[in-house]
């Protein structure tokens, strides 16, 4: 009877996956071809790809437009410093612990902020981030308002030499980012991913098809808190210093991340990656302009939002029908003689 099966892959996604595999091998070998500066820049790019992809999952798919994700970046950073300095945990273990702890904290945060609808939810998440920032500046064991550096002894103990430590941090950033992206792709290809895509396209229709919209949104919020905090911990392991203002900065961890996602394409997995590349090219080219650069980023994001709301990748995907990763579902009709049993 069921003479068809569901396929994700298309010709463009097969080429896309092959290209991504090659890129990943080149990036994994970066310590052998890149200098210290290049490695740092690449690691920073990875963290922004991860943050933007997580925000994209939250806002682009689940419709939860948060302007308070800096709450989880900062939380992850502070958990790292607390675990390392106060509890004596190894920094890499601390990054892994930061995720689940942040997820537990995300549960009551979601319970509170979900009482606000739409745009008010956005500002509610911002208030939570402000509360976290103000609490962090009251913790004197972690430097209070002026912040704290990771003690040199701990940094030195991480690896036998500075070069090895930098390689380790680079690979950690690459592995963590790839793991985040893989988890997001796996989620979107799953049953829940189909529900999320339905919510993205039309929330009311999704609800009437029997999807428990609130529950899925809740799960996505907690999961992005988990991932964002781990990336936050990684970011501050690379910076080696934390303060409430840098950890909970709305500009660095939310404004940039939103601009990246909007410019690349909201609601598409490829969008944040394209957006991050554009963002860093612009930053390298215009960094001397200081605050004018930020002003231009704001203007570019507004222009893209109004005249190309699907972002750069949206323009490409609509024009050529491309997808870089096998996410969309296609029905493939099987030949008559095969009794197709796959669903």
């Amino acid at each position: 009877m069921s003479a068809f099966r569901v396929e994700h892959a298309t010709r463009s996604s097969r080429i896309g996956v092959a290209l991504i595999a090659v890129t990943l091998i080149v990036l994994a070998l970066a310590p052998f071809w890149g200098d210290r500066q290049t490695l740092r820049l690449l690691a920073e790019i990875f963290t922004f790809v991860a943050l933007a992809s997580l925000w994209n999952l939250l806002a682009g798919y689940a419709g939860l437009v948060s302007v308070g994700q800096q709450a989880f970046v900062g939380l992850g950073g502070y958990l790292l410093f607390a675990l390392v300095i106060v509890a004596g945990v190894h920094p890499i273990a601390a990054i892994l612990i930061a995720g689940p702890v942040a997820a537990v904290i995300a549960i009551p945060v979601a319970a509170l902020t979900f009482r606000l609808r739409g745009a008010y939810f956005a500002i509610g998440t911002w208030v939570v981030a402000e509360v976290f920032r103000l609490i962090a500046s009251q913790i004197s064991a972690l430097g209070g308002g002026s912040g704290i550096s990771l003690p040199a002894a701990i940094v030195v103990a991480m690896a036998p030499s500075r070069q090895v430590r930098e390689f380790e941090t680079y690979w950690l950033a690459l592995v963590l980012t790839v793991a985040m992206l893989a988890a997001i792709v796996a989620l979107l290809r799953s049953r829940h991913g189909l529900a999320l895509t339905a919510i993205r396209d039309n929330e009311v229709a999704a609800q009437s098809s029997g999807i428990d919209v609130t529950r899925i949104k809740f799960i996505v919020y907690v999961l992005t808190g988990f991932g964002t905090a781990m990336i936050g911990a990684l970011i501050f392991l690379m910076k080696l210093r934390i303060s409430p203002d840098t950890a909970f900065s709305v500009n660095d961890w939310t404004a940039f991340v939103i601009f990246i996602t909007v410019i690349g394409g909201v609601g598409r997995i490829e969008g944040p990656i394209i957006g991050t590349i554009v963002f860093f090219v612009l930053r390298q080219a215009l960094a001397d302009l200081g605050s004018l650069y930020l002003l231009m980023m704001g203007a570019v994001a507004i222009v893209v939002m109004l005249w190309a709301p699907k972002g750069l990748w949206g323009l490409i995907a609509d024009r050529f029908g491309w997808q870089a990763l096998p996410l969309q579902r296609h029905l493939v009709l099987a030949p008559k003689e095969e009794t197709g049993k796959k669903a």
Partner: protein, 289 residues
Amino acid sequence: MTEWLNVILQGVLIGGLYAMFAAGLSLIFGVMRLVNIAHGDLIVLAAYVALMVTQTLGLDPLTSLLLVVPIMALIGYVLQRLLLNRTLGDDLLPPLLVTFGLSIIIQNGLLELFTADSRKLQAGPIEIQTFQVMQGVWVGALPLIQFVVAVAVIAGLQVLFYRTALGRAFRATSDDQSVAQLMGLDTRHVFAMAMALSLAVIAIAGVFLAVRANFDPAIGPARLIFGFEAVIIGGLGSMWGTLAGGVILGVSQAIGAQIDPGWQVLAGHIVFLVILAIRPQGLFPKVSG
């Protein structure tokens, strides 16, 4: 005892300022379901406009309102007509992202023009005038004027909403945009008028903010948050509710600051979160948002 009375009274008076932050926000949400993330930055913009007006024309801050209010209202009308009307629709993302972009543009534009230095508007001898209300309890003339103006602004908005043709247009568009359009209302113009009115209120709030304390280009987002908290505490869609919300927020912050200066803003946030937890519709709700 009188020490605490003083603290609470100061909190109430500052609450008037927060109510003005909130009224502008609540007004445009009511009419077009738009939450303006750049609201706080527009308040700061108004403060800088007032700074330029007072410096170039030698006016005192309160008189400068005669110019600052129409300038801001015009900015609001043009902003809505040219930019924000394009963002309205079923999708939540465009208005949020565009006003977020606007917020970054205003902050960095002001930083470029005026540097990060703190400024303040000088109001002259009135700044230090005080009255004794009762034994040991004092009220500053300026905070009192600010509170009276806030009450007048909110009463004025209430009258405008329920007694004038423009208010009728606002309410009609708020209830059902397409029917309002069928009845011959140009909703693009109605929305632009609402934004103009919101920015007129912002102008008054901005001038009082600038007289009361130092300001710099980065303080906008915190004003947005205070206004937002006052709206939610008071209840969506209720003008008098925003006044109550502003006063509750002001008093919470004043009490927090009295306990420990580091707790001023945090105390306000905590009261907001507690009210959100136990009474999410706010204290005096009118419309379900």
